[in-house]
Amino acid sequence: MWQGFLQIALTLIIVIIITPFLGSYIARVFLGKKTFLDPIITPAEQFIYNLSGIRHKEDMTGWQYTRAILYSNLFMGIFVYLILMLQGVLPLNITNLSAPSWDLALHTTISFLTNTDQQHYSGETTLSYLSQTVCLGFLMFTSAATGLAVGIAFIRGLTGRTLGNFFVDLIKSITRILLPISLVGALLLLILGVPDTLAGPATTTTLEGNIQVIARGPVASFEFIKQLGENGGGFFGINSAHPFENPNPLTNLIETIAMISIPAALIYTYGIFANNTKQAWLLFWMVFAIFILLVGISAIGEYQGNPLVNTLLGGQQPNLEGKEVRFGWVETALWAIVTTGTMCGAVNGMHDSLMPPGGFSTLFNLFLQIIWGGQGTGTAYLFVFLILSVFVTGLMVGRTPEFLGRKIEKREIVLASVILLIHPILVLIPSAITLAFPDALAGISNPGFHGISQVVYEYASATANNGSGFEGLGDNTLWWNLSASVSLLGGRYIPIIALLLLADNMKNKQPVPETTGTLRTDTVLFTSVTAGVILILGVLTFFPILALGPIAEGFQLAKGI
């Protein structure tokens, strides 16, 4: 068991070491400072600007930034949807797959457009190499870059800068962050055994004389941006548990770090923008503390295994249901918490088969959305909680709340509340409707308390733009495709609009000079209050569901029934 915890500790030490380097690199990119990649990228970028017709890199207001996001995302969505629907007649369709049903194609398009990558299909049997690469692979870059741009624009507004130009931020996110890292990462994965080919499935005769069909494809390029961009949509149905997506412990380590590196680094990026790395580290450690707690309880749960099975065995065995031998209980538990925390959503073991502590922690992450959080947006949500904490503490001491020298007033609190409330609304209301019709709508595959978790998990994953699932759920139905699409869209664009308007507001405020009476936000005390606000606001909303789902299941298993 201790060897397992050593693996977790070393992985996280690597993440901590990377954070300031990547964080300051991202800051330099978006502050327009020199970076070591300039000699190659600047001319290429200029060419891209010329082709895209971006001559004036004028700063946008909150509304302009929002409209630019909505227009470009709408066009990307229509473009990808059409290609998916024409899959049957387009080339690179080696296994002669027909187009997916209209509702599945719609759900898939929206899901990848919103950086969620919730999948109601299996890659092998549904999508051609063309669809995977030029539709989904494409959206993996742009949706991650959109998130990153929003995160940066929000930080800019918060620190009193103009929000910037969406198209410039979008292009820079890709040319200077996502694409260069992906080229290196995909090459590493390829060297380590992840296939990248246009050849069709290999048909072989096994040693015992059966026929085995081995799915292949252009996986390596797809796999790395899937991890780095917090996308998480697997090339194969079973995602990163598939030996071709994640063949060995080293690829697993690379993919785990790729998932967590940008969301962790963005907190540091904020520190540079705000010229207050002390506060950035305080926030980093606050998130880290909650994160490590969740990793711990999940890992111990998997290590102790299933009490019902242990009784049959007459001894304790780790729970390996839905897990691969090469990852074991520890790497699967760590991955599960990283992937739900960062809104990646890729899995290297089945979440449906996790023990109740794992189910609890993954759901907890989806509810909170800030245990690192999604690409760009997660960091922004963290600051929304910070603003709320400033407001709450301001009320307690009877003083006008200020954050970074700017007054927090009614409009800011309204926008922050919208961001906070849209999440439970889009998770709990559709869950309630679905659970009211268990036979007609739900498609639950595991009976009892776990069935409730399955339904809530699906909507929480959609709204949080995560994409993982309790995959036993029968979710490729008209109801699931359409209702999850509503949660996907609402969970993505409503908070983005509110974030940008909030940032715009903060930017336009007259800074108030700091006095001895100012509440400092870069102290351990204030950070602890923030942690309290996060836990109270974020967790209490969802506590009844956690009690009905994983907690009840845990008690049931402990009782041995």
């Binding site: 292009i171 296939p195 072989t204 799915a215 088969s353 109740p356």
Partner: protein, 206 residues
Amino acid sequence: MIRESLRAIRVTLVLWILTAILYPAVMLIVGLLPPLQYQANGSIINNSQGQVVGSALIGQPFTEERYFWSRSSTTNYSSFTKQEFEPTKPENITQRTGTSGASNLAPSNPDLIKRIEPEINRLKQAGIPPAGDLIYTSGSSLDPHISVESAKAQIARVAKVRSLNPNQVEILITKNTDGRFLGIFGEPGVNVLKLNIALDNIPVSR
């Protein structure tokens, strides 16, 4: 508004060419380089006659006494018996594309216990201690590995059927064990397909 949407369309198309065409094309071309061809094509193993026998990364089902057994799989390792293999039939889509899958059974699901109980008895009858990796199904249904203990527990049976010295078999297990990365990350596992191929390649003495 029209100007704004036109700009959005142009940016989208340029980024599409960059990320959806150029980036994957570069990786595909890199995969054609001779030192990377093996990995890029899926680590395919050929036998001495040049026939494809499988992939070094993908497991295979084994039931015969003379082979080491793999983990249980919900898709039988994306393999099909010769009788059921009719890829031209429309409904047999997985026979054309290959597949992956998992049980997705919750720990509290009674079906899990119903499945595991007979599995424990079967293993006990075969003289193998029922370890976690053998009674639980894998994540991908294609897991190429079993634990070292589960492999060692099968040495006696395989050695007896093949009239081999158990030590010789144990050496093969060690050779086909994929260890932890740097001795730290992941769990060690025995690649069952490679081990069984190595067994088949032992020249028959006598």
